[in-house]
Point group: D2
Chain length 280, copies 4
């Protein structure tokens, strides 16, 4: 038996679930879990199904393809448990990368990281400890295009499904954002839309908020405005200094980014305009 994950989205209409499950039945598949949602905001239909099928994945894909054509759907069938090929971009902050690598090694985060790219060299040793190739390139105004070309090349050659900005402190060009739309996850160090831009923990301290947060979101060319995937908060009080807020916040950032990456790797995230539909 093959365990597969099917994701399927299209304009909403009657009969989609029946048609898709008909294809599953025709392949003698058994549904393990099915989640479906129709967005009244956008009129889109979203479905995620986990299936056991005795046929080969290619045969199952062919059966789904016919249904997908009928509904003009965006869809994919992937074997469950196959790790998502992930490129990680970092700068100096170690926390989110350490958390990702720890969970990969612990075997509970289904991604594999064939390469880490950085505009600083500090995290090379951490990458090396985990046996992951690490490249350091200076990213200055005139070398940024070259670095983005290296990203594009890596995405193509290494079969990358997901790019993770794990506190990578550079803004991607609008072109790259567009070309990789829906495949780049960033962690923002605040509870968006609360404190956009720089120094959010300082802003949070000055404003005297009682909860600080972190937000994982897809990257778009509209900075800090991409579709939100996951958010977490932590209670703080008046005595917390900016340094303490930063320390607490960095823990939140790591947790939140790892959660978002796990949701992506498990094919649980769908884009619905500027929002996400997430089947937990």
């Amino acid at each position: 038996m093959h365990q597969l994950i099917l994701t399927f989205s299209c304009d909403d209409t009657a009969g989609i679930v029946h048609a898709v499950t008909g294809a599953i039945v025709a392949c003698q598949g058994n549904i393990l879990e099915l989640q479906q949602f129709s967005s009244t905001d956008t009129g889109r239909f979203f479905m995620r199904v986990e299936i056991d099928v005795p046929t080969a994945p290619e045969e199952f894909r062919a059966a789904i393809a016919q249904v997908a054509t009928r509904f003009a759907a965006t869809w994919a069938v992937v074997p469950a448990g196959v790790p998502t090929r992930t490129l990680v971009l970092v700068s100096k902050a170690a926390g989110p990368l350490n958390d990702l690598l720890f969970h990969v090694r612990a075997g509970d985060l289904p991604i594999e990281i064939p390469l880490i790219l950085s505009n600083h060299e500090q995290l090379g040793r951490l990458a090396h400890y985990h046996g992951i190739p690490f490249e350091h390139h200076a990213v200055l105004p005139d070398s940024k295009p070259a670095f983005e070309n290296r990203i594009r090349q890596a995405v193509d050659e290494l079969g990358i499904d997901l790019v993770v900005l794990a506190r990578y402190m550079q803004i991607l060009s609008p072109e790259l954002c567009t070309d990789l739309a829906g495949r780049v996850i960033n962690i923002h160090h605040s509870f968006l839309p609360g404190f956009k831009g720089a120094n959010p923990y300082r802003q949070a301290h000055e404003r005297g908020v009682k909860l600080i947060g972190a937000t994982a979101h897809f990257v778009t060319s509209n900075l800090d405005e991409g579709p939100i995937i996951e958010q977490n908060v932590h209670r703080v009080d008046h005595s917390a200094t900016v340094a303490e807020l930063t320390s607490i916040g960095q823990g939140l950032e790591s947790d939140t980014l790892t959660s978002a990456v796990r949701l992506f790797a498990e094919k649980r995230i769908f884009l619905d305009g500027i929002r996400t539909v997430i089947f937990h």
Copy 2:
């Protein structure tokens, strides 16, 4: 168009979703939301579907009944938004009842309460303010059977779907627990299975826990061991007295009970042995 909610559970096998959605398609229904789960613990299949159908509910029920027979399913079709007929049992504590009544009045909790039964008279005035019949019966060892007969009678005559123990401080007889299995929700003033029995806030204080909780669960004859529906916790510190823990805990109890009642009223809860499956 009629908006209906279908709940459907049976032993898991291939083809159930396809068969059910086939009946929906045959009635020209459109699926608004579908959630499905197969329990590997018990081998049971659970599904909840919200549907828009142009046919009369009875016609739709007939179509589903055929599929249900084939899979020996437990199922129901109810119109969305029709309030769940709810009998509330109370003693002296006002919090959970006040919260339920407030939300009913605010229009965001789809239940209707035709009767409140109590073994104390204190809450009669609150019931009266909300225009709900209130009966006070002394419940002593020799009058308990009579009170339980009154409960049974009310359930039958008033078409009760749900009985809520809103801090009703008496134990129901095993017979009544069995007869109303899956239809009686209790709020327990602790984070089960942590502090069973009496005085959980005192126990929590003495043990020095850093979080206190509340648990809403179905009532079974096995006291404090019924299937858990919802749990919440609140952070506390060393300075909290038993009285303060009690006050904080009572807020949790009300919130947690109201949440569980809402889940029940929206047909989101399924029993899976001693556990619950809940489609949020």
Copy 3:
């Protein structure tokens, strides 16, 4: 023995705690709880002390007054447990008022409410049920000054310590904000500074946030920018409609406002510029 609460704030310097506790010792007082914080942001010193003293409160006040003069302190001594005189302003939304009144009645919120003022008549019945005088005044552009005069009059004549805007949907004039600075608490239906202004739940839905929140803050003439007292959040997902966000959010609002009012009534809140220092 008299149980008293002392609050004391002044510019920070050495010897303040020793001097104040010296006055306490001189009155044969016993400290039950003492919390102190020096703000590095503003250079201010804040202290809250709960004391048992055998002397009359007036004698104790005289002793503290001498120390306070020496440090040019802002200070107060109040008997513990004496309810805070509270004026509540409402419009149509019942939730926060219901929650306040429930807790007052339950005896776990140390305030007393001699009057409720409203620009709508809907909540009169709820006030009546709780036996609290309720006045309804139309608040239109030309009658707003009269209504604010009524507020000022009530504050003076009723000995009001705290004004609570329990979803009162009008903006107070800058003059009133100034005159009552530090004594007016508002509940804002969002996780500030996230969604200021109108329709925050719609904004939250459109932005697709994964947590919604509520913020209790002191009112200043700078709308939605007053010092934050308490914030809470609740997790939501893509399926939540604006109506459901609103319902969930209203529960948060009530909880958060009641918490803030309790902190005020227990003399736990200090203003530190645009931030608050809160001794939990």
Copy 4:
């Protein structure tokens, strides 16, 4: 100026704060933060003070010692920021150790770890990466006394203030628990007192709880009953397998243990019988 932390606990009586702050004033010290609590359960007084003093720490200690003698207090004065000497015991699970080491390296956890002892060799490489001596000793029934002697020896020779059981899967002997009372922190993989003993995540799954938790506590000879320091929970639903609960729970364990270690290292934890007083 020297920044010092004073901790002071004794039987409660009038005049303690004044006496201690008198000693601080006599040394020309300035109080940065002072927290005090008197336990009505045990009649004990607890105080933590952060102070800037111009005198040498020894001189300040001498001044405090006089006051301490008068009240028969347990007390300590340590320089702020000096790392707590910490011995870590591990078995095979990497998570809590990785989290501790990450935060030590990040500079936001004020401990230093001169040695890691383990009854398995797996985590040697992680220790090596962080440059920390690692010893692996088999711990079998007849070699357990030798291992405990090694622990005692390390505590003495390395000046250890804190022993952390970071998922060390062996029970310490009652003698060692007694000798190191108040200095050994363990992480328990459940929300105590909920699921004591082995396989708590399996127990949690079988019971169908909606929140799972982790508890950091001091070790006593009464297994799983030591004073609780910190607890955290995470929401789960019916679909979570035991493996998923375990994965989520391990993240909670790491966070919770690191928090407890930070509280200890910052001298914020006091023992009050079987409870803890914690000044956040």
